[in-house]
C-alpha cells in the first residue's frame, strides 16, 4: 500500500515549501537585521577601534593599561556589579511574590495590578529619580513624617547613598523583571498545583517543589535582563547617589567630559561590554544546566 504513495516526490515538495518559508522569514527579518547591524554592530566596532588608540593617536594598549593599573577602576567595576546585583536581589525579593500574587487573581483584577506595575514604566527616569529625592532627602516627606510621629529624633540618611541608588534602580527595573516572571507563571497548569495539594503537599512544599521550579525559566530570564541593564545605569546613580556611588557609566561620561579622552572612555565601554557578555553567557549556561537537569529528572 505504502509503495503506491509517491513518498519521495512528496518529500521534495515539502522540503521546497520549507525552503520558501525559510527564505520568506529571512526576508521579513532582514530589515531588522540591517537595523541591528547599523545601530549596534558598527558602533560597537567603532568603540573597539577607538579604544585601541592612545591619546597621541598611535596604536597602543595605553587605554587598557590605565584601567588595569589604576586601583580606582577596579573599585568602580566592583561597585557597578554590586549595585546591579543588589538591584537583582531586590527585584527577585519583591517581584516573585508580587507576580505569584497577581497570577492567583482573576484575570480582570490581575490586569489592574499589571497596569499599576507598568504605569511608572511610562514615566521618565529623571522624574522618578527626583521624585525619590523629594521623598528621601533630609527634610523630605519620609523623614518629616518619621520625626513628627516621634519614631526618630534625627533625620535618617536615606538619600545620596547606596540605599537610595538601589531603591531607585529597583523601582525602574521591577516592571522589566515582573513581565517575564508573570509570563512563566501564567503558563503553569493550575492543575499541577491542585494535584500537589490533593496529594497532601503543604502550601510551602507546593511552592518550593512545584510552582517555583516551573516559574524558574521566567525568574532567571528576568534576573539576567535586570542585571545586564543595571550595569549601564547612569542617570539614577548620578542623581540618587550624590557622588557617593561611583559606577562605570559615570566614569565613562567624565572621561569624555573632563579629559575629552575618547580612547579611555571607549576602553571602559569595551570592558563593560565584554564583562556583560561573559556574565550573560555564564547566566545562560547556568540556566541551561538548571533547566536541563530538571528536564532529565522529568523524563526519568
Amino acid at each position: 500500500m505504502s509503495a503506491a504513495l509517491p513518498l519521495g516526490e512528496n518529500q521534495t515538495e515539502l522540503a521546497r515549501d520549507a525552503r520558501v518559508e525559510r527564505a520568506l522569514a529571512f526576508a521579513l527579518a532582514l530589515p531588522c537585521l540591517i537595523v541591528v547591524a547599523l545601530c549596534v554592530l558598527i558602533p560597537c566596532g567603532w568603540l573597539f577601534y577607538l579604544s585601541a588608540f592612545g591619546n597621541d593617536g598611535s596604536l597602543s594598549w595605553e587605554n587598557y593599561e590605565r584601567v588595569s593599573s589604576g586601583a580606582s577602576y577596579g573599585r568602580i567595576f566592583i561597585t557597578t556589579f554590586e549595585v546591579s546585583l543588589l538591584t537583582v536581589l531586590a527585584c527577585v525579593g519583591i517581584g516573585v511574590p508580587f507576580a505569584a500574587f497577581v497570577n492567583s487573581l482573576p484575570p480582570r483584577v490581575a490586569g489592574l495590578f499589571v497596569a499599576a506595575v507598568l504605569l511608572p514604566f511610562w514615566t521618565s527616569l529623571l522624574v522618578r529619580a527626583y521624585a525619590w529625592l523629594v521623598l528621601l532627602q533630609r527634610n523630605g516627606l519620609i523623614n518629616t513624617a518619621l520625626i513628627d510621629m516621634g519614631l526618630t529624633e534625627a533625620p535618617l540618611d536615606l538619600a545620596f547613598n547606596w540605599f537610595s541608588t538601589v531603591l531607585g534602580m529597583t523601582h525602574i527595573m521591577l516592571p522589566i523583571f515582573i513581565l517575564p516572571v508573570l509570563g512563566a507563571m501564567r503558563n503553569i497548569d493550575p492543575g499541577m498545583i491542585r494535584a500537589a495539594a490533593s496529594m497532601g503537599a503543604s502550601w510551602g512544599l507546593t511552592m518550593r517543589r512545584v510552582f517555583l521550579p516551573l516559574a524558574a525559566p521566567g525568574i532567571i530570564a528576568g534576573a539576567i535582563l535586570v542585571f545586564v541593564m543595571s550595569l549601564g545605569f547612569y542617570v539614577t546613580p548620578a542623581i540618587l547617589g550624590g557622588g557617593n556611588v561611583q559606577v562605570i557609566s559615570m566614569r565613562i561620561a567624565r572621561s569624555l567630559s573632563n579629559f575629552s579622552n575618547w580612547g579611555a572612555a571607549s576602553a571602559l565601554g569595551v570592558l563593560l561590554l565584554l564583562f556583560t557578555g561573559a556574565l550573560l553567557a555564564l547566566g545562560l549556561m547556568a540556566q541551561r544546566l538548571i533547566l536541563g537537569a530538571r528536564k532529565g529528572q522529568d523524563h526519568a
Binding site: 589604576g70 586601583a71 573599585r75 532627602q137 550624590g242 557622588g243 567630559s257 579629559f259
Partner: protein
C-alpha cells in the same frame, strides 16, 4: 576638482548673501544668567543688530564644546565659558581669536580680556552655611569648613577639583600668595587632594551644578557647602536660611568666546561688543549677584551702592579674595582632575 570647490564656495557665499537674518547660537548656563542675558545682554544687542539668537544651555560648556568638536558638529557661535575653561579650549585650538578692533575692552579688569575670551561677570567660589544650624557662631574661613568639631554638620563639595583644591590648601593656612607655588608640585597637589579626602566622610553630597548646590541649601539637605556666591545670594533673597562669606573666596570669571568652527564669527564679534558695554554689564547686576568685568559699569550710576556692596568685583569685596590662576588650571587640569577622581572613588 577645483570647479567643485569653487562651486561649493559659491553656494556657501550665496547662502550668506541670501540669508535674510543671521541666526547666532549662544551657549550659556541656565538660571539667572539666562534670564538676565535674555533681558539685558544678547536680547537687546541682537535686536539692535537685527540678529536672531538661539539659546543652548549647558552646565559645563567646555564639555559641550568638546563634544561638538569631537563629533565635528559645532553648532555654537558664542559660548559662555569660565576663564580657565577658555584657556584650555584655546590650547586645544577650539576657539577663534577675538578681534579687539571690533570689541571695545579698554575699561576691562586687568587680564579679563584675553586673546580668546572676554570677561562678562566675576564670581566667587565661597563657603555658605545654614543660619539655623549655626545660629550663634558662624564659620568664617576654610579652616572652619574643615573643622567638624567646632562646626558639626553635613557638608557638600563640588564633584570636580576646580576651586576645591585651592580651598583645601587655604584651610591648612597656606598663604594666598603661595597657593599656586604649592600647587606647582606633585606633592602640593597630593596635599590638597589628601586634605579633601580627610573631609570626605562628612561630605553628604558632591554637587555637579550651581542649581544643585543652591537647592541643597534651600532644602536644608546640607549644613555647609562650597558654591558660587550668586546662587547663595538668590537663596538668601528667597528667604532661605543661607549666609555666605567672601573671605578667602576664589574669584573667577565667565567670558564670551567664539568657537573656531563658527560660521558667523564677524556677527558674533559685533554682538559681543554690544554685550560688553558698560551699561549692559551694569544692567546684568539686576539679575545676578555677579560683578561686572567692565570697570566702567560701576561709573554708569546704574549700580546702586547697596548692590555694589555685595558684588564680588566691587573694590570693597575683591580685596579678601584670591584670584584664580587660569594658567595653572589650563596646565594642570587633567592631572588634578584624575587625582580628584581617584580620591572620590576610594
Amino acid at each position: 576638482m577645483r570647479t567643485l570647490v569653487m562651486a561649493a564656495g559659491l553656494v556657501a557665499a550665496g547662502g550668506a548673501v541670501w540669508a535674510e537674518g543671521v541666526t547666532l547660537t549662544l551657549n550659556t548656563p541656565g538660571g539667572a544668567v539666562l534670564e538676565g542675558g535674555n533681558a539685558v545682554l544678547w536680547g537687546p544687542a541682537a535686536a539692535e543688530l537685527g540678529y536672531e539668537v538661539k539659546i543652548e544651555t549647558s552646565d559645563n560648556s567646555l564639555d559641550a564644546l568638546r563634544l561638538q568638536v569631537g563629533a565635528n558638529a559645532v553648532s555654537t557661535d558664542i559660548i559662555v565659558m569660565s576663564g580657565y575653561q577658555s584657556a584650555i579650549a584655546a590650547n586645544e585650538g577650539m576657539l577663534a581669536p577675538l578681534d579687539y578692533n571690533v570689541i571695545d575692552a579698554k575699561d576691562f579688569v586687568e587680564g579679563a580680556a584675553t586673546p580668546y575670551c572676554i570677561g562678562i561677570y566675576g564670581y566667587a567660589a565661597v563657603m555658605a552655611w545654614n543660619t539655623k544650624t549655626y545660629p550663634d557662631k558662624a564659620p568664617a574661613s576654610w579652616a572652619d569648613f574643615w573643622d567638624t568639631e567646632a562646626f558639626p554638620g553635613r557638608r557638600a563639595m563640588r564633584a570636580d577639583a576646580e576651586a576645591q583644591v585651592e580651598m583645601a590648601l587655604l584651610s591648612q593656612g597656606v598663604a594666598p600668595a603661595d597657593l599656586y607655588t604649592v600647587l606647582a608640585t606633585e606633592e602640593g597637589m597630593q596635599r590638597a587632594i589628601d586634605r579633601i579626602a580627610e573631609l570626605k566622610p562628612e561630605i553628604a553630597v558632591w554637587w555637579n551644578s550651581g542649581a544643585q548646590h543652591g537647592q541643597l541649601m534651600l532644602d536644608g539637605e546640607v549644613d555647609m557647602t562650597t558654591g558660587w556666591n550668586g546662587r547663595f545670594q538668590t537663596a538668601k533673597a528667597n528667604g532661605g536660611p543661607v549666609e555666605f562669606t567672601y573671605n578667602q573666596g576664589i574669584l573667577a570669571y565667565d567670558c564670551f568666546a567664539i568657537p573656531a568652527a563658527s560660521q558667523h564669527k564677524e556677527e558674533a564679534m559685533k554682538l559681543i561688543n554690544l554685550m560688553s558695554a558698560a551699561k549692559a554689564q551694569a544692567a546684568l547686576t539686576g539679575y545676578v549677584a555677579y560683578g561686572p568685568m567692565n570697570k566702567a559699569a560701576f561709573d554708569t550710576g546704574l549700580i546702586a551702592p547697596e548692590v555694589a556692596a555685595v558684588l564680588p568685583t566691587s573694590p570693597q569685596n575683591s580685596g579678601s579674595m584670591i584670584v584664580q590662576d587660569i594658567t595653572w588650571w589650563a596646565a594642570n587640569n587633567d592631572r588634578i582632575q584624575q587625582m580628584f577622581e581617584d580620591m572620590m572613588t576610594q
